[in-house]
């Protein structure tokens, strides 16, 4: 394996296929990540609330939801959402892209809900007790005392979750929905070159995740600042 050849091939591939990678691949990956992260965080918040519910049945169901999703491979979930769920809900006439996006939302919601839960639990129970004994209602305690402190724990972990999701969208290429890994498959299928397009795709993923992880780091430092 000759490094010079590989670099030459990479340059040639980029000359010819840059649009497939940089326009189509990047935009679809970012769109998929944005949908998965935003809706995932929303559903995750709901799941966390339900998990703190007074009703045992609700708590049980939510626990099953979280455990099943965290305990099964994401490829399986994608396959089920691509093949099985559309058949069960024929009136929901969504595109393949949307089904994959929904599967990623559901997946991230389970992880995000655990991030929320652990963030909330990490707040000293004395804080809640103090707030309650000062006459605050349960809702007030949560909103004004617990959540502002929990956010410090939650935000950095949430940032890491976003980075994870960005990379996990690559599995969506199983269904050729146009994300960055699909770009790799297309170019690979047309040129029979494997390593070169893979390196290109890897570099682009890195370019997307690195600023994100820097951002998370900055956020972490900022949050830690208040602890002193």
């Amino acid at each position: 394996m000759d490094i010079g050849t590989i670099i030459n091939n990479i340059v040639d591939i980029m000359k010819k296929y840059w649009r497939v990678f940089l326009v189509e691949g990047v935009s679809n990956t970012l769109a998929l990540t944005a949908i998965a992260v935003l809706l995932g965080a929303l559903i995750g918040a709901v799941v966390t609330m339900l998990k703190r519910s007074r009703f045992r049945v609700v708590r049980f169901l939510v626990t099953v939801y979280v455990e099943v999703i965290r305990g099964t491979p994401i490829l399986l979930q994608l396959t089920i959402f691509y093949f099985v769920v559309p058949e069960l809900l024929p009136f929901l006439n969504l595109s393949a892209f949307m089904w994959v996006a929904i599967a990623l939302c559901i997946n991230s919601s389970a992880y995000v809900s655990e991030v929320f839960r652990s963030g909330i639990q990490a707040v000293d129970p004395g804080q809640a007790e103090a707030a309650r004994s000062l006459g605050m209602s349960k809702g007030q305690t949560m909103l004004r005392i617990i959540l502002p402190q929990a956010i410090k724990n939650i935000l950095p972990a949430l940032g890491n979750e976003f980075i994870m999701i960005l990379k996990e969208t690559s599995l969506a290429s199983t269904f050729f929905i146009g994300d960055l890994m699909t770009s790799y498959k297309k170019v690979n299928g047309a040129t029979y070159l494997n390593l070169e397009p893979l390196l290109i795709v890897g570099l682009i993923y890195l370019c997307m995740t690195y600023p994100l992880s820097k951002l998370v780091g900055a956020l972490e430092r900022k949050m830690a600042h208040g602890n002193k």
């Binding site: 559903i43 006439n93 498959k185 040129t191």
Partner: protein, 279 residues
């Protein structure tokens, strides 16, 4: 609790927003394919949407859709997923260079054969240059490691005809090529058409000298349909017979090879010195 209900409702309504986009008419023929296998099916990156899927199988799918008076919709997905699409009803047909196999026939309705040039008629074993032509009989492969694609015809052929060999299952063939060069195994079992592409792209790769004895039933490709979908299978078979009688297969395969060879595929290749010869 009430707030929660509102939130859920909002999410549902949001989901409803996305409904309605996409197919709805019954007059659409959905075909699952794995467009990463030139010249049978691959992507022409200069195009977008449905137009980007090209190759022999796509031309065949177009022909079938025309004959049925339906509109064609290609559903791209990985090779393993194509049969699942048929079972789940997401696609009516799976056309992706499938060979006839016993297990496949047990779980799906398979169409009659269609022939894509010399793509499947010969099955060979490729190796690295230093072993070129030195392996001609099945016994030569005793104790050797051979790479073959998961659930492929080649894997089955290795099992049947090279009992002494150790089969290493690989996910896709371009990865297999890298593994071969890295030394994970010394041989790859491939269809002749695919082997030719390897040979023309990479000077280090050569034919081992062995050729599988291919039963005629493996020579053609078949279209995969849902088990029990006999009505559609009959229709498809009639159309295949018509296409064969009209001599369309050769014409399509030629067109597909030209498309794969000239435009967007294999434009980057290695010349004899191992450096890149891009045209």
């Amino acid at each position: 609790m009430k707030k929660l209900f509102t939130l859920l409702l909002a999410v549902l309504m949001l989901a409803a927003l996305f409904t309605g986009c996409g197919k709805s008419s019954d007059n659409v023929l959905t075909v699952a394919t794995s467009p990463d296998f030139a010249p049978m099916e691959f992507c022409d990156v200069s195009k977008t949407g449905q137009d980007q899927y090209v190759g022999f199988d796509i031309m065949l799918a177009n022909y079938i859709a025309d004959e049925l008076g339906m509109e064609l919709e290609i559903l791209p997905m990985s090779f393993d997923s194509c049969p699942t699409a048929v079972t789940s009803g997401k696609a009516t047909l799976a056309i992706s260079g499938f060979s006839w196999m016993e297990d496949r026939a047990a779980n799906y309705n398979l169409s009659d054969y269609y022939y894509a040039g010399d793509n499947e008629t010969e099955q060979v074993i490729v190796t690295l240059k230093d072993k070129e032509g030195q392996f001609t009989t099945a016994e030569d492969f005793n104790g050797m490691k051979i790479g073959a694609q998961n659930a492929s015809l080649q894997e089955q052929l290795c099992q049947e005809q090279l009992p002494g060999a150790e089969i290493v299952t690989v996910g896709d063939l371009s990865t297999a090529l890298m593994q071969l060069k890295k030394g994970d195994f010394d041989f790859i079992a491939v269809a002749k058409g695919q082997g030719d592409v390897f040979l023309s792209n990479d000077p280090d790769v050569a034919l081992s000298g062995f050729e599988f004895n291919v039963d005629p039933k493996y020579v053609g490709n078949v279209i995969v349909l849902k088990k029990g979908d006999d009505e559609m299978t009959e229709k498809v078979n009639a159309i295949l017979a018509k296409a064969e009688a009209a001599g369309l297969y050769e014409q399509w395969y030629e067109e597909a090879e030209i498309l794969a060879g000239s435009k967007d595929a294999q434009e980057i290749s290695y010349d004899d010195n191992g450096s890149v010869a891009a045209d």
